[in-house]
Subunit: 213 residues, 4 copies
DNA sequence: TATGAATGAGTTTTCATTCAT
DNA sequence: TATGAATGAAAACTCATTCAT
């Protein structure tokens, strides 16, 4: 797939990718103009379609490019696999926060696509998204120790609610640092970690028995 | 604002509003066609623009109309004002769930707008949304008893995290009943309330001291 | 149908019709450019589609216009209804010849459409054509005296072969006068009628018994 | 002309010819895609244009190829040269009918070209067609005995009208067997011959004197 | 107040042909 | 001889908005 495009010299390839990312970022799939992309990439209209056949293909090429770019940055090895859910979740959430900031342009494209009502891309995008989500969830749950929860608590419900909180927290901080520099986020990271811990402390009390808290 | 439109006889006004709601619901702001709206409303193109000047104005008129319609249904008086946050939140969340189902057409318009990439409406919509959110939050917090939380817990953080959970739960159940009938939801309401309580039980343990649980 | 267009003032209507006829005549359905039509008609692109919605509709509007224009010129009353097939056919064929010359631009559009392979218009055009053909054939056969054919001859086969000849003759003379002026044809009409009679004389001998020739 | 192409090894030549025939057959001259042709032939775009310079040249190469292929199948020697026009014509017409079925793919290309509106190929094609037609007509007329026609009949007119009929009949039966198998036609050949004779019988009466009929 | 004809820049996509390699 | 990336004009069609009536 897209062999022709992949065979291009890196400079030109990047020019096209950047033009496409810029346009999809600014306007979303539907309002992005292939005309604008080719103009900004400095290529002819025909060439873009020579490579990608249509707008939709180009879009999903960019979606995959963007996802892979982010994933390549995450060292799976380095990911926290502590058996305790709180130990495990906090690092992951902070990494995600950093990535969301570092790759904010890329994230926007993905989020816009996720929320899009456009029938043309909905289904295909959801499949891509679901696959990644499933993979990450499985990876997150793998080897998690759920035996320590206090009696009377459903492990599934506990995990669910913890995930809801962490997602909420993630969104909160993403919004908070939306207009600030990436470096600020990194500088504040220790403080944010402490805040995360404060929030999660409440949940810890909720799920663990008296003596282990 | 829109005096001319407001001065119209109710039947015609409603025809226009319904046509606009139908179109914005089906297609979202960008893909909605003013043409279709005028056709379905049985009025001329010129007239629509005479009343609203442009598509954007019309859209925000509808957004406000829709929000007010939902709000009118919620008797503020009837809303649970129990001092305990859990007592208070569960009723509100279930009411919201019911409203989301009852006014699903209206909710869809709001949600689509909330998620839209379209630069044209983004900013203005977010302002409307933020104002409502702030108002509701203040109303929710008013008279809430935060003295019962166990020592060492920040009341603000506790409330925040409880709200994050309840929001997560709300979304979960909205999605769950998305394609089902309104009656089903009402029938299952007792069971859903029980599930809510199971989830919140975990948080209760987290925020309250030993003896009050 | 096409009420909006019909309501136009005659001058503008005619400008559009003429531009469309010119373009369809020169290029055929597929190669005709709606851009060229609007340019030559002196209207905007949008307007053409406002009236006709798409190229195909415009084409069939023109097809019907052209057919009606020709038909209006033929006084049904005046059409030869002699019971003898030869008496009847010769006048009709000569009228057709005159019409084909007088309306040669119109005929070309019809003939091109008839021969077109374009899937988009094939079916619909054939229906129009078949209806007209059937009507004309029925009208031609109506009241025809087929009792005078000599014994052993199938009336159906005789009529068929006579029609084949007359069609062949028609094409021959259309081609012959293709590049000449309409007036020339009219001037030569008497001579052509004589030639027709010479040709048909042969067929007369073929279908009628000895004593009636 | 096309020396470079002719010099190619047969296998490759045939691949290109077949690809071109397939595409021109399916889509007609205008809609045929040189892209598709090169893809199906397994050669590069550049090469096709290296051999034929442009699409038009390629098309006429194929037209000539197709015509020659059909002609090669007709052994001139074997063609009925009976002095009587009816004896002669019936065999030829039936052979033509068979060829039209056997080479239906080739015929379709020729017929489509004959009917095409496309200015680009019209003129040139008509010249080719006229030349062949003239040659065949001359061949048909050669050695024909026209002395037996009854008095008062122009031999030329008689021949003309007979040819018109036979052409009409040919078209009728080609249409009739258009969607049926080649074998069906062959099976029905005797019956068709009889029908031809019935039709021509009428003409025979028309052109021959009493006593020879 | 009410109409709806008119605008025109904009959209995605196609395809014969060229040319540097 | 052979490649296939690159071109760019052209296609049909859309739609919010205006304005003369």
């Amino acid at each position: 797939m897209y062999k022709k495009f992949e065979a291009l010299d890196d400079e030109k390839k990047q020019r096209i990718i950047n033009a496409a990312i810029g346009e999809f970022h600014d306007k979303g799939y539907e309002n992005a103009s292939t005309n604008t992309i080719t103009r900004n990439a400095g290529i002819s209209k025909g060439l873009l379609f020579h490579y990608f056949k249509n707008k939709k293909n180009l879009f999903f090429y960019i979606v995959n490019y963007v996802i892979n770019s982010i994933m390549d940055d995450v060292e799976d090895a380095g990911i926290n696999k502590a058996p305790d859910i709180f130990d495990r979740i906090i690092d992951r959430s902070l990494v995600k926060l950093e990535l969301a900031k570092k790759y904010s342009r890329f994230y926007k494209i993905i989020i816009d696509a996720y929320r899009s009502n456009c029938e043309e891309i909905k289904k295909e995008f959801n499949e891509i998204y679901a696959k990644i989500y499933k993979h990450h969830l499985a990876n997150f749950l793998d080897g998690l120790d759920t035996t320590k929860f206090r009696k009377g608590i459903s492990a599934g419900k506990a995990i669910e609610i913890i995930l809801m909180c962490i997602e909420g927290l993630g969104e909160k901080y993403i919004k908070l640092y939306d207009s600030r520099d990436s470096e600020e986020l990194i500088k504040d990271m220790a403080a944010i970690r402490q805040e995360y811990m404060d929030y999660l402390e409440i949940l810890k009390y909720g799920v663990y028995p008296e003596n282990t808290k």
